[in-house]
Amino acid sequence: MTSKLPKYLALFSLVWVFIISCSPQHQQSTFANAGPVAQQQSNLYYLMFWIAALIFVLVQGALIFALLNFRRREKPIPGSDFTVPDIPPKQVHGNTKLEIIWTIIPALILIVIAVPTVQTIYDTYQPPEDSDPLEVVAMGHQWWWEFRYPDEGIVTANELFIPTDRPIRITLQSQDVIHSFWVPQAAGKKDTVPGNTNVMWLQIDEPGNYSGQCAEFCGVAHARMRFRVIAEEEADFNTWMDAMKTPPKMDTSDGYGLFLAHCSMCHSIDSYNEGSYEKELTMQDERWDDWYFNQEESVRVSAPNLTHLGIRSMLAAGQKDMTKENLITWIKDPSEFKQGTRMQSVASVYKGGPAKLEDHEIEAIADYLLAQIPDGWGVVKTGGETEEEVEAVVWNTPEEHGEYLFVNQGCAGCHSLNEEEVIVGPSMYGLYDRSGDKVPGLSAEEYIYQSIVYPNEYIVEGYPANVMPQIFINLSEEELQALVSYLKTIE
Amino acid sequence: MSTAIEEHVNSTGVDNKKLMMWIFLGSDCLFFGSFISTYLVYRNRSLAGPYPNEILDIPITTVSTFVLLMSSLAMVLAVSYVQRGSQVIGRYWTLATALLGLVFMGFQVYEFSHFAHLGLTPRTNIFGSTFFVMTGFHGGHVTFGVIWLVIFAISRLAESLKQKLLIIGSVFSVIIAMAGTMMTHTLDVIPNIPSAVAYSVFGIGLIGTIGSLYLLKTSDTQNIESIKKEEGNLELAGLYWHFVDIVWIVIFTVVYLISANDGAPLL
């Protein structure tokens, strides 16, 4: 009896567990297939599952039957104290015919499995030949996803917009370690291997929001490396695509300056511009190289593109809903949502701890980011303030104007005004005095002007190149002159 | 080992130690096989020079390969003479094996420092990584074999203290001679050594070698049977030595013959 009991109990608990957990269709279920690739993969699984279930029943049945039926019988002889002695059973050594049968039958079953397996391998490898797949590049980063649309010149992060009913060919790459791109409802996973390029494809038939996750262990925040695939009807998708190429409403709030000062070295935010796609690719490589080769000294690392962040639904690689509250928490201390981020360990505004910013500064950045919405985008999805207060300020002198710009354009985030203090870039103290002889043929004014507009033309010794964003070229001539006049006054 | 184990009749008739040596060598095949496969997989993947075609010196390595091959021949003769109970000649060939192995190692030291001088280190590129680690571990095997043979010669094939010292002397003399040779030939590696000094060092080493080997010719009478008993142990060393030699032939083929013309990858 004792030996039967555990079997039954075990069996019962298995059935119980199975029943309670099977019922709902969860967002990463491999059975809730949303497209042909996942469907074919499931079909193969179902085939094997039912064969396996049959074999399971037969083998376990035979095992339990043998155990119960061939128990040693020490039957007492009726009416006496003696028992029938334990006589060894017939000594069977084997049966060649049986052996051959139970070698061949499994082999045949395996052929039944192997043929559709090989077929499915090839079917799910490339999109159908007569289709017109959308090309997407997915790059795994520690610990977020970068999505590029090379044909459209768009870069975004953590949310992959795709059209329904159209195959998507995904090119998989990685800069750092191995990750794995997995949207269970759409297709099985494939790894992003640094130095190698992989290709997979998927297709989603119903519009919706599909959950994906990195499936290859990639370090400390592996569990937090999630993403979304947002499938939309062709028309909606095209709307999104056009919106991504439209600049947001002009914004000159404090948040802009703070963003430039503290975030813009790693986060691009202007990928609606012409030519920004190629620039972003180069910048991302440079940021990564800077971190990879300088490690501790580095202040940059590859980071998600934040263009039109206001229309995304999730933040921190699929961790939280994109609300102002969450965004503020995230900016204040990323480890609240995700421990071990490179943002927190690398960026000089964190250097391992919470952000060295005032609460109102953080809020300003959050406001600025949430306001990154393509001009004319219909629905404002978040609680971001919609009314902008535009101050009309009149400057008395260019110097005063320059001082305002120095703070609000973020210069002050990296350049201190005190002697000897280095935040990221060189101190501005006494700039004018030493500017005259930096570059032969350039006067002090010309040198300062050039360094603002084309920061990489001349790099001060001891500082890395490509750190200062090359975005101040967008300032008006008047603003630039104001900045230069202001910088001349710092002595 | 001990008696009860030794007395046990071997099921296969092969000595336990010899059997284990064969198993070990089988295992070592996979060890070097892994290094060699890594090298082959990583051929033509270096992203920076120097590349094999800029740096490999095939004539010199051919000489060192020849030296190692000759050491295998010496090994065969050593086992054969010890088998016949000839102490003096057996000892000479055993020592010859070790000294030729030592010379081979000298070539490797020269090659490594020469490559480093030309700018190829394990850190330079993937060719450097695979090349140095693979040949380095092979060199480690040769070194272990040399030490084994020398200790064997000292403890089992020599009787008097004088002979033991002569064996050690010959080893050091060869090292000194090689050091001298390197000073004369690669003055760019060890700069500022007057060639006169280098030649003298070489000469001292050479004289030491010849002298100690000459003095070793005198034999103490040793029981022929007791020498014959050492045959099994020497054969173990021999198996090892031949294996290491064969591995080098594979490495030589793969590195110096097959990939000698490998240059920058055609990306």
Partner: protein, 619 residues
Amino acid sequence: MTTISYPTLIPRPKEYVSGVWSWLTTVDHKKIGTMYGVIAFFWFLVGGIEALLIRIQLSGPEGKFLTPEVYNQVFTMHGTTMIFLVVMPLSAAFFNWMVPLMIGARDVAFPRLNAFSLWAFLFGGILLNISWFTGEAPNAGWFAYAPNTEVPFNPKNGVTYWILGLQVLGIASLAAGFNFLTTIINMRAPGMTFMKLPVFIWMTAVVNVLIVLAFPVITVALIQLQFDRLYGTHFFNPVMGGDPVMWQHMFWLFGHPEVYILILPAMGIVSEVLPTFSKKPIFGYPFIVFSGIGIGFLGWFVWSHHMFTVGLGPAANAAFSISTMLIAVPTGVKIFNWIGTLWGGSIRATPALLFSIAFIGMFVIGGLSGVTHAAPPSDAQQQDTYYVVAHFHYVLFGGALLGLWSGIYYWWPKFTGKFLNEKIGYLHFTVVLIGFNITFFPMHWLGLDGMPRRIATYPESMGWEVSNLVASLGSFILGFGVLIFIYNVIYSRKGPKNAGNDPWDGRTLEWSIPSPPPHYNFETIPEVKYRDDFWYKKYPELANESHGGGSGSEEDSHGESHSEPHMPDPSYYPLFLGLGMSIMIGGFIPFTGHWIVCGVGLAIFIWSFLGWCYEPVND
């Protein structure tokens, strides 16, 4: 002979009959086997606690019990510990105890080397676990995929501890592998031809062939990774043209045979337990043996099925898929033959037998789920999910560990002369089996429901809460089952030595000698005529109806007896050689002054190596 390098600093100890030194200096395979078992069981408890920590962390969403960093360390060490410090050495404990006894030998071929293996295993395990105390436990998984193990991504010393600990353990396994192969090939009792070897010995031989051939591959991969980490080479560094996939190839070229290294000993044990308790010879002996060899052989051609999602291309995936499915054939043959052995037998359901039956049952589940990820498209959904976790726990816990437990209940009377209590044994069996299934069965579902492996936590709303909670509860039931086993061992120690020589009516040579066996094992080296020779000595009338052994032995009678066998004396050197080697290898970890430690280790190593070589053989 007056040799100048005759280190007689420590003379060979003459005789330590009892006390600590009798264990530290022993070269007796039985004592070494016992120590392997005890140490491995200690690590089993450590690994089990790590498993419970994992389950506590995952019992609910957004677990805060462990930080992600510590979680990564815990799952890395759980895997590494269970594989290298538990299942392998527990198997080695059985190899040590049973190989000489079952083939009729007085000891293994190289008793001192055997002791060295033990000490290297012990110190290797300690080296690996020291990392906990320096706060830098390995955190890259037991598979240590590059480039996550390279310095830029893993600057702490954890991975270095892992590399060097594994090197020491690898050397221990290799030395044991050489030893056991030599023993099995060369030390069989007269008349015991290969086809008369007990199945456990056959499986031991296959396992040790795998060890001898697979470990050099991981040794090289670890050397390369170590050079990458410590000396700036570029083997797995994509920035300089290295290829992270190369690490995976080398790791799994070792790693897949390693899987069979873990499971085949248990299969061997089951093949001994089933015949004994059904009083029938093993069904289809040659098929069992050759399917074991077949599994070991095919195990070399399937490694890339761990890499179906790496992007090797459809042709490679198809080829490795088919080769993987092929392995199901010999595995099936084994299972059918085991059922055939039970069929028509006279079965006594002792705990040992129940564990063996449970082994088959659980292994079938693990095997069938294995087939579902032999198909790459289906595997694309399962790879790196909890489905795979469920699969290999069914194979390694439900398989290997239940099999080893079966062996413990089966041979305990031979080890100690006492029975393990049968009633407590049934309880132990029941609780473990139930706890095991409650823990791991829901993981199948979790995986198919999209839960990846190695995630430190998961958000709410994924629908994974219930199954995870059930699994966590199950793990504590399982832990309780292990406590019952410990209680059984303690309880049974107090019992009388009443097992006798042959408590189960056994079949193989070990049951013909006293329990526990004398240190020389066999007073007279037995002469073997049949497979299951001892059985037919007891029941000569059954020999006629058998065709299992052939008649008589071809090689006749040169194994005469020694009434007072002289066994090798104990030795200090294996201990010090293992210690010196481990210190030396540990000295490569780049802490301040590590070269001094390395040098000290080297000195001990050289001294004990020479001491070992020149230790007088005492005749």
